[in-house]
Amino acid sequence: MERVIFAELLDRRNRVHTRVRINTLPFRIGRSYNSDLILDDPHVESEHAVVEDDGAGGLRLRDLDSQNGCFEGGAKRPSAHIALGGDTLVRLGHSQLRFRDANFAHGAAIKLVAHTPFVNWLLEHWSALLLIPALGVLLKLGEVWRNTTGDFEWVPALSETTTTLIFLVVWVGAWSLVNQMMRGRARVVAHTVTAFGFEMLLSAITDVAMEWMRFLFAPIEPLELLKIFLLCASGSLMLLAHLSILGAGRRALRYGIALLVATGALGVMVLNYYSTEQADWVETLPYWSRLEPINPRWLTPEAADAYFHELDAMQPELDTLAEKALAEQKPGGATR
């Protein structure tokens, strides 16, 4: 019977390793050189199985009384006969096989994502690999400089930068390794650009923007919270970018993971911010000690009279606090 079938030997990631065209049935599989498909697998018999017409227009695999048998998909027990659909995976020894008709129907092609030349450069080109980290290091040094109000010293500045640098290199290495293992491509450039872009460039830009916002407008506390929010957002966006480059999971799953990480981190950081803000010792008096702005544009200072008047509210609050603390110390409520 004239019928064109393809036998495909798959590798561990289910990609086709060898593809053999079958023109006539039955079709023998085994280690022997008499076989139509020769498998160099020590767990496969010389004449292990045969692919034949099942009489109803379909194909089936028949086991030739082999010692190890033939397995369908992930089955635990061997089967003597396996009906072969286009997607049926069959295991003989350690070899995975698939059989498809020449007229096997494929779905529509996945649409190619069209990147702009800039994005292509960012994700693929070796010069991005050098340029983006270099820019990040420069900005980081700038940040150190802005926080230095005495003499700028290169050694501590560089060592501070190097710590971040080493962390990022390890981080990129880990992602690239995973990428290499899962997809066979490391995509070092894309991971490097992502990590340095988010961690160094974006954080430095946020810092500078914050600085100027405080400087121009007012040293208001919400800005500090906004900063925490941006930090979490950039962190989870970075994670999302890495996952997308890796192409791991469905898109919804990736977004879900990023969102979860962002919310978790945000919660922890806000809690942490408030717990240090509310500390009860003078070393960390619970108030915001940043001093700005120089030109208080949006600021309407209070008159001294009003300010000292408003302190009235604090005394009963302190008394309540004290009574609460006393009640906790003496559960019986007895006072001395």
Binding site: T149, F215, L291, E292, P301, E310, L311, L318, Q329
Partner: protein, 427 residues
């Protein structure tokens, strides 16, 4: 000078003083007088012991001396403070020559002046005569007490007048006082008491409570109708309240001395009993001027709480080279770190609460923070930290912190306000 936990200041140089005390006692010849003084006084000076009621172990020691015909003994408040704070857990006893302890009870105390009067069950020989009238500096006086539980000793030293710039009077005694001698008398050759041993800053710099304060306390105790309230903390509260009213009224009534720091004028010595220091530091990128004032009065409230009253710290910084953003980074750091030590734990104080605001006064805009905590056991008493920093100049700034301890809310507010409003810009 009593419990092992001890008063901070008192204990600072205990080791040094102990060594010096050894040297002094090794001097071959004390003047002839001291032998006789010691002999006459010895039977009327006893060791006072504070004992933990359950175990009978001593928790504090001091010295006491006879001040009344019916067995009244005087000592320091800080020796017997446990009797006031935790009367159910501690009792006091005086120790006879044989080392035997005999119970004594508390008659009265003056927290602020650090004196207490105790009542023994038996009468002693003659009470000490309390000296009246002024002494001349350099006058030889003799402090008696039981240092480190080693046995009754006499230390010869010199009267050097009252400590200067102190609101409450204290005699400056040049001689070595050591832990355990607290509450002992300082005597003249004729055996009359001029002061009560109280504290030492080491190197023979020691302090005595003037005997007039003891006389006043005795008068109060002996007045008809006097009775120490069952709840001693009521008396403590009352005394603290009176102290803070007197102390802070004196400051509020005084005219502060202004100091010039760069282009700013700020209040320095708020009242005559403040000690002030200044300084200037020149760094490569900025210059800073400092001014610091504090009071020296120190009240021992309990082994955990000491009231140091007032401290203020000004700092003016300027820079010609830093950009405004970098200058404000530096300025913020100064402001953040400018705080005086307010120690104490949450066992004794409530949490802090702060009111932070931008306040305009005298044409200057300040960022101010008024932070306060309450003494848990003493209603109406607070510790306050008031901080302010001037905003608006690109390359100069002035920031200050005022620490007030053991103060009423009203006084703290009035004082902080006066303080802030006194700061001026003046080229």
């Amino acid at each position: 000078m009593q419990s092992p936990r001890g008063a901070r200041r008192v204990c600072t140089l205990v080791i040094a003083t102990a060594l010096i005390a050894k040297l002094v006692s090794a001097l071959p010849a004390l003047a002839q007088g001291s032998e006789q003084i010691f002999e006459r006084a010895a039977t009327r000076i006893v060791q006072i012991r504070i004992v933990e009621a359950d175990s009978g172990a001593k928790s504090a020691i001091g010295t006491g001396f006879v001040v009344g015909k019916e067995g009244e003994l005087a000592t320091n408040y800080h020796v017997i403070a446990d009797l006031v704070h935790e009367p159910e857990h501690y009792r006091a006893e005086w120790v006879d020559a044989a080392g035997e302890g005999h119970p004594i009870t508390l008659l009265g105390f003056d927290l602020v002046r650090d004196i207490a009067v105790l009542q023994a069950e038996r009468a002693f020989a003659k009470p000490f005569k309390l000296h009246k009238g002024a002494l001349r500096n350099g006058r030889r006086i003799y402090a008696v007490g039981n240092p480190f539980d080693l046995g009754m000793s006499i230390v010869e030293g010199a009267y050097n007048g009252f400590v200067e710039h102190s609101f409450y009077e204290r005699i400056h005694f040049t001689g070595s006082l050591n832990p355990g001698m607290s509450g002992g008398p300082a005597l003249l050759e004729d055996g009359s008491v001029v002061g009560i041993n109280v504290a030492s800053s080491g190197n023979q710099v020691s302090y005595l409570i003037p005997v007039d304060d003891l006389r006043r306390l005795l008068e109060r105790i002996r007045a008809p109708g006097y009775e120490l309230p069952e709840d001693r903390s009521l008396e403590l509260r009352e005394q603290l309240w009176r102290h803070q009213q007197r102390y802070f009224s004196a400051i509020l009534e005084a005219t502060p001395q202004m100091v010039q720091l760069g282009s700013y004028q700020a209040p320095g010595r708020l009242a005559p009993f403040f000690h002030c220091w200044g300084g200037f530091s020149e760094k490569k990128r900025h210059n800073a001027r400092r001014h610091r004032c504090q009071t020296v009065d120190h009240i021992y409230l309990s082994d955990r709480i000491h009231i140091d009253v007032i401290q203020l710290r000004h700092r003016q910084i300027e820079s010609d080279v830093l950009s405004p953003t970098r200058f404000y980074q530096l300025y913020s750091r100064f402001f953040e770190r400018n705080w005086s030590e307010l120690d104490g734990s949450d066992e004794d104080f409530s949490e802090f609460r702060c009111a932070v605001e931008f306040v305009e006064t005298g044409g200057l805009v300040f960022k101010t923070a008024f932070c306060a905590r309450r003494y848990l056991e003493f209603e109406g008493l607070y510790d306050v930290m008031f901080k302010a920093a001037h905003l608006g100049e690109p390359n100069t700034g002035f920031e200050t912190a005022l620490a007030l301890t053991g103060i009423s809310f009203e006084n703290a507010r009035a004082l902080s306000r006066r303080y802030l409003e006194a700061i001026r810009w003046s080229e």
